[in-house]
């Protein structure tokens, strides 16, 4: 139960030395006037737009094209992590099959683009809706389960989607779909030698800019939800699902909403990604991708958007940065993950609440630590006599 009693003295001490330090920053941020915050946001966006600069690339990814890496994996991972964070970090539901929604978005783009000749923008809307609906379809029967059971069912769902794609000839079976159209160019005009709205084959930067825009919009929505009745309901569900329901929170409906929102973000990422890569195959969507995004969320700090973005960035970037070490990079990467979780189990930039929950051993991963059972069997928890 209590994590701290398991850890050795040394580990606890090491944790303490890497922990903390965030609180003063957080307080200053909370006290900062509105305009100052907007200024920071603006600076961050401008920074993100300047990131693909070649001079940065020589340091960031000496072995591969920096702008390409920025789009995939970095940008896509970040968007996926923000989406998964809604499910895992906010609502506390452990989803091990998140890649399924990415795949559904990707296949929506591929099928509608190649077979029906729809344009990217139309497909973006439809793909997002299709993913949301598939989130509802997955969630409706399974969200009555708690903790471990939900994790297993979602894991199965991720595999089902991939294997179905593999065995459906209409969408190309294991060979996937090729010739996916690029988004139509919005404008050919150039700024500083880049045509930011011209979506071609060679230049990854326009796609990256589009992704940045998508990420910004997603953050705004996610942040607003977090600070609304919806976010409160999720938090209450995470803390004490029975009490939440008895305070008038339709818990099932809100969990379903978290699933659908997370799914639609994953779907959006899928559409954008597949519109760039020309061809996709079912093996682009393996379980390990779900696990990687989950690792990004946990590593960065489940429940905290800047945290999960940092986590996703590191998880996407580090293996690229150390490409020179060949296969050892994966080993090193694994070692870093283990070390991280030992030293800072709450993540790099944890949300204050999640850290508290982890310290108590209650919140943890989804509701894995909580009591398990359906609505009926969980009832005795309320009764104490």
């Amino acid at each position: 139960m209590n994590r701290h009693s398991n850890g050795t003295e040394a580990l606890t001490r090491a944790r303490r030395s890497v922990g903390g330090g965030l609180e003063p920053v957080r307080q200053r941020w909370a006290a900062a006037p509105r305009w100052a915050r907007w200024l920071v946001y603006l600076a961050l966006i401008v920074g993100a737009l300047l990131l693909p600069a070649a001079s940065l690339g020589t340091f960031m990814t000496p072995q591969s094209d920096w702008a390409t890496v920025l789009f995939y994996p970095i940008g896509i991972y970040i968007l996926l992590a923000i989406g998964l964070n809604v499910v895992v970090g906010q609502a506390g539901l452990l989803d091990l099959g998140y890649v399924a929604f990415f795949a559904i978005g990707g296949y929506a783009m591929a099928v509608l683009g190649t077979r029906f000749g729809w344009s990217f923008w139309e497909i973006l809307v439809v793909g997002v809706l299709a993913s949301a609906v598939s989130g509802l379809i997955l969630g409706a029967p399974t969200l009555r389960l708690r903790g471990d059971y939900l994790a297993i069912v979602t894991l199965g769902f991720g595999e089902i989607v991939r294997i179905t794609a593999q065995n459906t000839d209409y969408i190309g079976g294991p060979r996937g779909i090729a010739g996916i159209p690029h988004p139509p160019s919005l404008s050919d005009s150039e700024i500083f030698g880049v045509a930011p709205f011209k979506y071609g084959v060679l230049d990854p930067r326009p796609y990256y800019y589009m992704l940045v825009a998508l990420i910004v919009i997603t953050i705004i929505f996610a942040k607003r939800l977090e600070n609304s009745r919806v976010g409160r309901a999720w938090m209450a569900i995470r803390e004490d699902e029975d009490a939440a329901e008895l305070m008038g929170v339709p818990t099932f409906r809100f969990k379903l909403a978290a699933f659908a929102i997370g799914a639609s973000i994953g779907g959006a990422a899928g559409v954008v990604w597949s519109a760039k890569v020309i061809s996709i195959i079912p093996n682009n969507f393996p379980f390990i991708l779900s696990a990687t995004i989950l690792a990004a969320v946990v590593l960065g700090g489940s429940g905290n958007i800047p945290g999960v973005m940092l986590g996703a960035f590191l998880i996407a970037w580090l293996p690229e940065r150390f490409r020179g070490f060949q296969d050892y990079r994966v080993l090193a990467f694994g070692a870093v993950l283990v070390l991280m979780m030992a030293l800072r189990p709450e993540g790099l930039l944890p949300s204050r609440r999640r850290r508290a929950e982890l310290a108590e051993g209650t919140g943890g991963m989804g509701s894995l630590g909580a009591e398990v059972g359906g609505p009926e069997t969980s009832a005795p928890a309320v009764v104490t006599k």
Partner: protein, 267 residues
């Protein structure tokens, strides 16, 4: 304003339990319990440990479906309804062991209760529509008011688990009141309180009643129960063995045998 509604013998019934039986496997937690709580009453439910008091709460709030019998609230049946739906109809409760959202602030805890009647959906919240902002503002104002009402106005931003125990109990009451209940179920609100806190609690319960709500109370502290209740029902082994005004219950032989006879409980 302080007109006690108690002395009219038959106030309009707000909550009715009709021959409610609750069985868990072979255990009979409630056996044909009849209970009528009138509007505007402070009604206490007492009995030894394991008598089934909390089970009554759980049946009323929809945590359990009664094995037999029916539960009516404000004229309509509520057994079989979902828990959050029962809350929306106007039944709110506190818990025997405080069950706050521990890592949320006091204000947020109360806001969750207030949200029970908010309509903003996902889209409204994500887009920040005016309707949503309006609700959010109203909710906050209401939450502040309620925290003041229960007597902890200065600790809005404090994380719930960092509040002193007595304040946590008050916060739980504020959270319940935020759902705009007609009927408030308080499960041993005085447990673990010192005499001064109990005294203040007594005032608070009266204040809740005077604000137009009905209170159903489980409590072991006899001086508190006898001091504020309009009527009392006594449960023992899942059966109602007595009901009436405090004086009547105090002098009932079966009650004395089952419960009050034990000197430790008579306090």
């Amino acid at each position: 304003m302080n007109e006690p509604a108690a002395f009219s013998e038959a106030p309009r019934p707000l909550l009715e339990l009709r021959t409610v039986t609750m069985r868990f496997g072979g255990v009979v937690a409630l056996n044909g319990v009849e209970l009528i709580v009138g509007e505007g009453e402070i009604f206490a439910l007492i009995g030894p440990n394991g008598a089934g008091k909390t089970t009554v709460f759980n049946v009323v709030t929809g945590v359990y479906q009664p094995t037999d019998g029916e539960v009516r609230f404000a004229g309509g049946r509520i057994d079989g309804k979902k828990r959050y739906a029962v809350t929306k109809l106007g039944v709110a409760r506190t818990f025997q062991n405080v069950r706050l959202f521990h890592n949320m602030s006091a204000l947020e805890n109360v806001l969750v209760g207030a949200d029970a009647h908010h309509r903003t959906g996902i889209a409204g919240a994500a887009l920040g529509l005016p309707w949503h902002r309006h609700e959010e503002r109203d909710g906050r104002a209401k939450a502040r008011e309620l925290l003041e009402f229960v007597g902890i106005p200065r600790r809005l931003e404090e994380t719930a688990k960092n509040l002193p125990y007595g304040d946590q109990r008050r916060l739980e009451i504020a959270r319940a009141l935020a759902t705009d209940p007609k009927l408030v179920l308080l499960d041993e609100p005085a447990a673990g309180m010192n005499p001064a806190e109990k005294y203040a609690l007594q005032d608070l319960i009266r204040k809740i009643r005077d604000s137009g709500r009905t209170v159903l109370l489980i409590e072991h502290d006899m001086s508190l129960v006898m001091g504020i209740s309009d009527r009392i029902a006594v449960l023992d082994f899942g059966e109602k063995i007595a009901e009436g005004r405090p004086v009547e219950v105090q002098n009932n032989r079966r009650v004395i045998e089952a419960y009050l006879g034990a000197p430790a409980d008579a306090s």
